[in-house]
């Protein structure tokens, strides 16, 4: 088996070193790949059908990556596009790719892969007893499915392999596991799964495998039958044993085991060696094939509409009694709600007190107000936009005019930096599905639909 070389950059739209990309291309990679999103941005982007990064920054990265891939005539693969990896995000990213082609005169065969799943599919899985929660989210009930705004499944390697087999030059995939985006070209070239999956996991965050991620160095993996070697492509960057080994730690509960739809990347016996100043060799990796393949699903539901108000409070006599102030403020807002015939189920008010316990809440070891000012973030979530607006209108006056010490003479205590003081944030979503679903090889091969499109920007030139 010949060495397989994969060039990896970090999340699409986060930027990377231009020189590093060009040097990486000169090393003769067989494919370029990067991820393009994560559920770490929270449930909003899937629920609201919004791209998590601006088209301009996605376009900068995509233009350079597509140009490099076409120049070398090698595939470019990306997944979890648009941040959340829903159908809207896939369509939006495909449109950006078409624009890049039209602006640069590139032509390529593009595979567009979608990841959303239907409520009917979820219901069938629940009724078959094939769904179980990850962590404390609770069971996926039929009522929960009914209320769901959108749901998707994280694809593994199968759709990427299929797209490559269809002759795709460019693969834009919806929600994917990070290593799955990178592993396809390795598996197709005959790299054993044991080596391929750990190599893929080690480059799936691009420059996080280097010791100075802020340099934005792409990473080249040289993958063989029993080992892989990582090297940064930007001059001055380094891969170290610690920086490479840390990739299996990254946002993963267990450093030795990384779950995938078709198995587990097992690094318990992996050996990391510093080959020279900047390169690391890894041997001893394993991929433990699952008896039953599984898919992780992510679903969201609408919980209301949010408005927030940020106010600064400096009066030490108010800060001395701040818990009393907040209790009184909350009861006055409840009175305002009742006066508009709103029930407690119609709205929710929350305070986050910066300068007290806003970040850690009940875990804060020092929960008093010890500074000379606080930032008070007041939030209301209304069941409808109208309720949100109505309660939002009351937030500022009710709090600012609350004269807890009877010494303001009709004055106020909320110092606002902005006009308007109330920021309407629109719909609020929460994760309602975060589960593992049993599947089969056959189902994984057809559940993620692939559309092939010949993109030709030469005519636009």
């Amino acid at each position: 088996m010949d060495e397989v070389r994969i060039l990896a950059t970090c999340t699409l739209g986060l930027g990377f070193s231009y020189d590093g990309l060009q040097k990486g291309l000169a090393l003769g990679p067989h494919a370029i790949a990067c991820d393009a999103g994560s559920s770490d941005f929270g449930p909003y982007f899937l629920g609201a059908n919004a791209l998590q990064k601006a088209p301009m920054t996605i376009k900068r990265d995509l233009a350079l990556l597509l140009e490099g891939a076409r120049r070398l005539d090698i595939p470019f693969l990306t997944g979890s596009v648009g941040g959340a990896g829903g159908d809207f995000h896939v369509d939006g990213t495909a449109q950006i790719a078409r624009e890049v082609a039209a602006e640069t005169g590139l032509a390529f065969k593009m595979a567009v892969v979608k990841a959303e799943v239907s409520k009917a599919w979820l219901l069938a899985k629940v009724r078959a007893g094939a769904v179980r929660p990850v962590g404390g989210i609770g069971e996926l009930t039929e009522a929960r499915i009914e209320n769901m705004t959108r749901c998707l499944a994280m694809m593994g390697e199968a759709p990427f392999l299929r797209a490559l087999d269809m002759g795709a030059d460019v693969v834009l995939a919806g929600r994917s596991t990070d290593p799955a985006i990178f592993v396809g070209p390795m598996l197709r070239a005959g790299v054993p799964a044991d080596v391929a999956w750990h190599a893929a996991k080690s480059i799936d965050k691009g420059y996080l495998a280097t010791d100075r991620p802020s340099d934005g160095s792409p990473v080249l993996a040289r993958i063989g039958e029993t080992e892989f070697i990582l090297e940064p492509t930007r001059a001055g960057s380094r891969c170290t044993v610690a920086s490479v080994a840390a990739l299996t730690l990254h946002e993963n509960p267990n450093p030795y085991r990384v779950a995938q739809p078709t198995g587990i990347i097992d690094t318990e016996q992996a050996v990391y060696e510093q080959l020279d100043e900047a390169r690391v060799r890894v041997t001893g990796s394993r991929y433990l094939a699952a008896e039953t393949p599984t898919l992780k699903i992510e679903g969201v539901e609408l919980v209301g509409y949010r408005a927030v108000l940020m106010a600064g409070i400096r009066d030490p006599r108010v800060l001395d009694r701040f818990d009393d102030f907040l209790d009184k403020y909350r009861s006055l807002l409840a009175r305002a709600a009742r006066s508009m015939s709103l029930s407690e189920d119609d709205y929710r008010v929350q305070f986050r007190v910066y300068g007290k316990d806003a970040i850690l809440g009940k875990l804060e070891p020092n929960p008093g107000v010890t500074g000379h000012e606080v930032g008070l973030l007041v939030e209301v979530i209304g069941r409808t936009p109208e309720i949100c607006d109505a309660m939002g209108s009351r937030l500022g006056p009710t709090g600012s005019r609350l004269d807890i010490n009877n010494n303001l003479g009709g004055g106020g205590v909320f110092a606002y930096p902005f006009s308007p003081s109330l920021v309407k944030m629109g719909p609020v979503y929460a994760w309602s599905a975060w589960h593992i679903v049993d599947t089969t090889e056959a189902e994984m091969a057809q559940i993620f639909p692939i559309e092939i499109e010949d993109v030709d920007g030469r005519a636009a030139q």
């Binding site: 770490d40 404390g136 990254h250 267990n254 690094t267 806003a358 970040i359 809440g361």
Partner: protein, 101 residues
């Protein structure tokens, strides 16, 4: 000595929407071995700091990166309505002052 003095870096992040994971990295092998060997960073201590059930605390000593990894359940799912830190990046704070000898 406090953990923040013995360790080179301490960070926290989400491990999915339902867990927070802390990576405590030691540049110095001896400091790493000392803290791991002391057993101070145990499930009972972490459970107390994070107000979770000790049975749900995962702790790993990961030699290749001289890192102690601690994973705990999230109090609220990431981005939920009671969220304070949806990336979980400041949730390592309760560990900083742990006395590690």
């Amino acid at each position: 000595m406090k953990l923040c003095e013995a360790a080179t870096s301490i960070k926290s992040a989400n491990a999915g929407a339902t867990q927070i994971t802390m990576d405590i990295v030691f540049a110095d092998e001896a400091a790493y071995r000392r803290v791991v060997g002391s057993g101070v960073l145990g499930a009972a201590l972490v459970a107390g700091l994070y107000q979770v059930d000790a049975a749900q605390v995962e702790i790993y000593a990961y030699d290749p990166a001289r890192t102690i990894k601690i994973t705990v359940p999230r109090a609220v799912l990431s981005g939920g309505v009671e969220e304070r830190d949806f990336d979980g990046v400041q949730q390592y704070i309760p560990l900083l002052d742990v006395e590690v000898g």
